[in-house]
Symmetry: C2
Subunit: 205 residues, 2 copies
C-alpha cells in the first residue's frame, strides 16, 4: 500500500481513465430514463424483506410515498414498523398476515387474510402518487395458491407506469420472474442459526 | 383455493401442527440467546448496501444506536442519508469515500480516504453503546488492498461482544467469510440495466 512508485500511480490512473470511459459509455447507452421497476427479492438467504425496507427508506428520503403490505407476517411489533412510523403519512404500513402457516394451522383463515391483504395492495397499485409498493412475502402466498397468480400479474401489469414494486419471499414463481425488471436471489452462505444462535433484536425483527 | 373439503382442511392442519413442532424444537435447540453478529453481504447482485440500511432501520426502531461508515461512496446526497437524518443522534452517518476508483483515478487518494474511514470506524467498533456498525463497501477497500486485512479482522474480533457489524461489497475475502456469523450472497438473476433502463431515484440512490 505504501511505497507506490510514480510509475505505478501513473499506470493505475491510466487504467482508471479507461474504465471510466467504459462506464460512461454504458450509462449513455441506456436510453430509458424513467420506468417503474418490478423488483423481486427471492432465494433462501437473508435480506429479502430487509433490502425492501432499505428501498423504502431510500424512497422516503426522496420525500416520495411508500406503501408496505405484509402478506404473511402478523401484527406483532417489529423494529422496522416503529422506525417507519417516524415518516408519518408518507409511509403506509399494513401487517395483514396471520403469521406463518404453521402458526395459524388454518388454511381457510390464511387464504382469507391473503385475499384481504391483496385487496389493500390493489388500492396502492392503482394510485400514481405512491412511488413504491412493497408486497412483503407475496411469493409465499402465491406458492401456496392463497392468491391467483394471473390476477396478481394483471394488477401489476396495469399499475401506473412510473410506480416501483418490490415483491419478496422464497420460491418466486417463474411467471413473476419473467415479468420482473430486476430479480435478486439471496443465497445463504452461512447462518448463525446453524451455530445455535437465536434470532437477535434489531437483526431478525 | 375455494372448495377445500373438511378432509383437506384437516390434513393441512395436521401437517402444520407437525411443522410447528419441528420449528419449536429448532428454536429450543439454540442455546446462545444474545451475541453480536458479524454479517457479510456480498455477491454481484443488488441489495447488499440496501439490506444493510434495512437493518439500520430495524435497529433504530428498537431505539438503539447505529453508525454507518461508507468506504467508497462519496459525500453526494442520497435518499437513505436524508431519511436517516430523521433519527438525529441515534444514527451517525459518514460518507468518507471519494467515489468509485474510476472516478477519482488516484490510488494514493483512495488509500488515504479508506484509511481515514477505517479510523472513524474503529471509534465505533470500540463503543459498546453502538448496537450496529455498518461498514459499507469495506470489501472493495480490502480487495484493492487499500486497507490491511489483518488489522481489520483484529478490530472486528476485539469489538464489544454484543455489537452487530454488517460489512458490504462484492468479493468478500475468504478470511472475512470465515470470521463471519452470517453471510448472504446476493446473486443477480435479472437486471434492468441490461434492458437499457438507467438508475432510478429511490431505487439505486
Amino acid at each position: 500500500m505504501s511505497g507506490m512508485s510514480d510509475e505505478e500511480a501513473a499506470r493505475h490512473r491510466a487504467r482508471m481513465i479507461k474504465r471510466k470511459q467504459v462506464q460512461d459509455a454504458e450509462v449513455a447507452a441506456k436510453t430509458i430514463t424513467e420506468k417503474g421497476l418490478l423488483i423481486v427479492h427471492t432465494g433462501p438467504g437473508k435480506g429479502k424483506s430487509t433490502a425492501a425496507f432499505g428501498l423504502a427508506l431510500r424512497m422516503l428520503g426522496h420525500g416520495r410515498r411508500v406503501a408496505i403490505v405484509q402478506f404473511i407476517k402478523g401484527a406483532w411489533q417489529s423494529g422496522e414498523r416503529a422506525a417507519l412510523a417516524r415518516f408519518g403519512e408518507l409511509c403506509a404500513f399494513h401487517a395483514l398476515g396471520e403469521g406463518f402457516t404453521w402458526e395459524t394451522q388454518d388454511r381457510a383463515r390464511d387464504i382469507a387474510a391473503c385475499q384481504h391483504a391483496f385487496e389493500v395492495a390493489r388500492g396502492y397499485l392503482a394510485d400514481p402518487d405512491v412511488a413504491l409498493v412493497i408486497l412483503d412475502e407475496l411469493n409465499i402466498a402465491l406458492r401456496y395458491d392463497y392468491l391467483d397468480l394471473a390476477t396478481v400479474l394483471a394488477a401489476l401489469a396495469s399499475r401506473p407506469p412510473l410506480q416501483h414494486v418490490v415483491i419478496t419471499g422464497r420460491n418466486a414463481k417463474p411467471e413473476l420472474i419473467a415479468a420482473a425488471d430486476l430479480v435478486t436471489e439471496m443465497g445463504a452462505v452461512k447462518h448463525h442459526f446453524a451455530a445455535g444462535v437465536r434470532a437477535q433484536a434489531g437483526i431478525e425483527y
